[in-house]
Amino acid sequence: MQLKKKLQEWPLHLMLLPGILLTLLFSYVPIMGIVIAFQKFSPAKGIFHSKWIGLDNFRYMLELPNFTSILWNTIFIAVLKIIAGMIVPIVFALLLNEIAGAFFKRTIQTIIYFPYFLSWVILGGILIDILSPSGGIVNQMLGIFGIEPIFFLGNEKWFPYTLVLTDTWKHFGYGTIVYLAALTAIDQSLYEAATMDGANRWKQTLHVTLPGMMPIVVLMGVLSLGNVLNAGFEQVFNLYSPMVYSTGDILDTFVYRIGLLDAQYGVATAVGLFKSVISFVLIVISNKLAGRYAGYRIF
């Protein structure tokens, strides 16, 4: 205790200083630009001379004829993606953990990480072929089981699930990395002790591996809540079509389309601010809850 006292705080502040200065300049100064959300912004007038219109941009957003459906689509797609994007990588990290052969394990790890590197523009073209109701490989496979061809990309009911599935497929390999890193931090002696107690692999997984991963799982869970209004612009934009607007149009594609007609930075910023505030609230709450119930606060 005495020794602890001697450690002064200032080296810690000093370590933070460069990061704080850069963040101030490149994040906090531009954050002030949020005022655009309250302006009828015109590039020619700039931030300092555009007209102030109070909450009109928010009102415009909320009064859009299909705002509720767009918001619902966004949340529905995003939440499913968050859930699948948590569970699938965890499961695969655990499955990979059971593989003894280092070569096989590394090869699989590397391969499942590939799809992350193909952009949606490229994948879009490939997916139209693979998911085609006439002759696409997926529907051919389903045909073996007597299932009628499904128009995954053109059917309103199926489209959101298609988005979630393909997104999970693209990202799960990359997502696995973080859990694999977490697995390395688990104390090996715990496994030895468990074996001594006669626990089989399944029990070890349940009582050693999972609790050991818990902090990182909670961390990823809390952080991913920040994405509850991010349904993935690139993906939706490259895959959607008028046929599936009713279930596939999300906040970001909507903002994109109004921007095409006329760069409405005011509305775009208002929508962005709306998303930020909701994410922020969710993250704060979940961080508190994680502290209370999982006994592990992240921040």
């Binding site: 990061g19 391969i111 499942i112």
Partner: protein, 293 residues
């Protein structure tokens, strides 16, 4: 070695098959892109190419490697990754370490933490960021690509949590030996956190390598574009309604599909290699082993 029980055996077989199939599904699109890149333009334009090249040719690769935009972009990207990685890594460590301390040790800890987390959620948007970068005269320089994201908050949080998981005893022993925060950080925390550092190394490299939008907006001259910014300009098919009739006449917009595939593959290849290289840091028991030793 223990003898495997039947259930264990069947699980392992199932596991191998499942992982093998999954990997197969994940590698298909890449093979498709690769096959297209080695095919004739007509076969590619007709959509005949699936998993094997049709009318095998190397001409797309010759074309891509001759294009000076491609080669220039490659070197800009290397520079960006090198510089960006150094800055991100240094700042991630320097920020994560103090934040991993309890409030007792660092009185403003919670304030600092939220100071960074807020930037992950709120942003002023494109115009204010552009104006800021312009006002510090960084447009058209590599700094515009590496400094605005100098503190990758997600990575900081990850590293901070990893630091917090390290046993306190080693650290305290070091203090008793007279070490200060700096020495403890570099001599104990960093070496013990190699799996976490390898993880964020990968994330940082991939992020910098894949970013394209900032390059297009903050660079004024095409020779300063990173590779992915340049690629973006060729992969996206221009909305023909934007083009004048003469420009339309100069577009052979299908024949270059093989070139695109070749360039997409060449651009992804280096970063695909990074992961296998880093995998040795994901070895089990690395952390505790070195603690005990």
């Amino acid at each position: 070695m223990h003898k495997l029980t039947l259930s264990r055996k069947s699980f392992l077989i199932f596991n191998y098959i499942l992982l093998g199939l999954t990997a197969f599904v994940c590698i298909l699109p890449l093979i498709n892109v690769l096959a297209i890149s080695f095919s004739s333009s007509t076969a590619a334009a007709a959509g005949f190419v699936k998993l094997l090249p049709v009318d095998f040719t190397l001409s797309s690769y010759k074309y891509a490697l001759q294009k000076h935009e491609f080669v220039d972009g490659f070197f800009v990207s290397l520079k960006r990754v090198g510089l960006g990685y150094a800055i991100n890594m240094l700042l991630s460590i320097l920020v994560a370490y103090p934040l991993s301390k309890e409030k007792k040790a660092l009185s403003l800890r919670n304030f600092y933490a939220w100071f960074f987390i807020i930037t992950m959620l709120f942003s002023g948007g494109l115009i204010p960021t552009y104006m800021t970068i312009k006002s510090v005269h960084m447009l058209d320089t590599i700094w515009a690509l590496v400094l605005p994201g100098a503190v990758p908050v997600f990575n900081v949080i990850l590293l901070m949590n990893f630091f917090r998981g390290l046993p306190k005893e080693i650290e305290e022993a070091a203090y008793i030996d007279g070490a200060g925060y700096w020495r403890v950080l570099w001599k104990i925390y960093v070496p013990l956190s190699m799996p976490a550092i390898a993880t964020i190394t990968l994330f940082t490299i991939v992020t910098h390598w894949n970013s394209w939008f900032d390059g297009l907006i903050y660079m004024n001259q095409p020779i300063h574009y990173p590779l992915q910014s340049y690629l973006q300009t060729i992969i996206i098919t221009t909305d023909p309604s934007l083009m004048s009739s003469n420009e339309l006449l100069n577009t052979g917009d299908v024949s270059d599909r093989t070139y695109k595939a070749a360039q997409v593959f060449l651009a992804a290849f280096p970063v695909l290699l990074v992961y296998p290289f880093l995998q040795k840091y994901f070895m089990k028991g690395l952390v505790m082993g070195s603690v005990k030793g």
